[in-house]
């Protein structure tokens, strides 16, 4: 692929930073309907990645392929 075939804005493409929120040992509590750690404390009380790229675990993040696209809307 030649440089001329890459749209100008896309030349800035780079890997998103790896700021992963840990989900190790996290399980689903069906009674509470939330995710919990091994000791039963809610997962959401642990540090969350301060990012809205797809490297965090706060849902899909803001910067995914049109997060608001659903054929049904």
């Amino acid at each position: 692929m030649t440089t001329a075939a890459i749209p100008l804005a896309a030349r800035a493409a780079a890997e998103p930073p790896l700021a992963v929120t840990s989900v190790q040992g996290v399980t689903w509590d069906d009674e509470k309907q939330i995710n919990v750690q091994l000791d039963g404390t809610p997962w959401h009380t642990t540090p969350q990645a301060a990012s809205c790229t797809d490297t965090n675990q706060d849902g899909k993040g803001d910067d995914v392929d049109d997060p608001y696209f659903a054929p049904a809307t």
Binding site: H44, Q48, T53, D54, G59, D62, D66, Y68, A72
Partner: protein
């Protein structure tokens, strides 16, 4: 009995924001049914009926562990669920058709419920696009960057001359770039010099703005008219251009939303009929707040996590309702 009316939470299972809201509702004793649309139709069942002359769907949504009667639902927190997954036994083209049927049925029966919403997905969809947001924000009284959307290099150069200052380029819509090797790439906001503009701009639409001088940035979460503003202090050049690209160079604190900005944001949200929005602002060295964009289902768990702002509680206040 009104107090027993459930709140429905529709989200992916591993979603910290949804966890925070459900936790708040649990603490208040509000009945909750949380599901991910990805569980429909394999583990979630729906039966909804509509009468000839009585408006409103009635019926049951059941996930095998708990169920709600649709007519009892008091509020819905709808936060980017997955799409329905069809059984592997269904052949390819039939599976695609079946997924579309399932998606449309579940989303549109639920979105027709006369409940309190954060946010109705139909409103989210309208509120999510940047070009329209600039118009709505300006009408609401917010300051926005001078911007151009074009695929004509000469027009981009003319815009650069008009701005007579630094420019940035950003995607007009989020989305990863899969070049087939390693992780998918992200196109972040980046500096664009006038000499960078070339014929490759013709290959697609480009979104270019004046680079707003930043004292700091703000991630502002609005819930039912309440403002929760986190100041983001960037300590690297990368982070100052797009704070998402350098998370280790960020500092967070609480800041106050100017009254004029808050009033404009309430007008902005009313124009779209949304209750929640995650906004990005730059605050200039002169203290002016410049609107970048609104994410109508944006991330906020980390904002509460790092600042202690009671965002989940505000969600619960709204979903619970004040008179139950």
């Amino acid at each position: 009995m009104a107090a027993a009316r459930p709140v429905v939470v529709v989200a992916e299972r591993l979603d910290a924001s949804a966890d925070m809201v459900v936790d708040q509702l649990n603490q208040r004793g509000v009945p909750v049914m949380r599901y991910d649309a990805a569980g429909f139709p394999q583990s979630i069942s729906l039966s909804a009926t509509h009468e000839a002359a009585e408006a409103g769907w009635r019926g049951v949504l059941d996930d095998g562990h708990r169920s709600v009667r649709l007519e009892d639902v008091r509020a819905v927190y709808y936060r980017r669920p997955g799409r329905p997954v069809i059984a592997k036994t269904v052949a390819g083209p039939y599976a695609a058709w079946a997924q579309h049927q399932a998606d449309t049925a579940l989303l549109n029966v639920v979105s027709a419920l006369p409940a309190r919403w954060i946010n109705n997905p139909h409103h989210d969809r309208l509120a999510s696009h940047k070009p329209q947001q600039l118009v709505a924000a300006t009408r609401a009284g917010l300051q926005v960057p001078r911007s151009i959307v074009t695929n004509i290099p000469e027009e981009a150069r003319r815009f650069a001359k008009y701005v007579a200052g630094p420019l940035i380029c950003k995607p007009i819509i989020g989305g990863r770039l899969d070049i087939g090797s390693g992780r998918k790439l992200m196109v972040a906001t980046h500096i664009l010099g006038p000499d960078d503009i070339d014929d490759s701009l013709r290959l697609t639409a480009h979104y270019i703005q004046e680079a707003v001088p930043k004292q700091y940035e703000v991630r502002l979460i609005v819930v039912d008219g309440e403002m929760f503003a986190a100041r983001i202090q960037a300590d690297s050049e990368k982070a100052r251009t797009d704070w998402r690209t350098d998370p280790d160079a960020l500092g967070f604190s609480i800041t106050r939303t100017p009254g004029r900005v808050a009033a404009a944001l309430r007008r902005f949200m009313a124009s779209y009929g949304i209750t929640f929005g995650a906004f990005d602002f730059a605050v200039t060295p002169d203290g002016d707040w410049v609107f970048f964009e609104c994410n109508p289902a944006g991330t906020w768990a980390w904002v509460e996590n790092r600042t202690g702002l009671p965002i989940a509680a505000a969600h619960a206040d709204y979903l619970q309702g004040r008179a139950t």
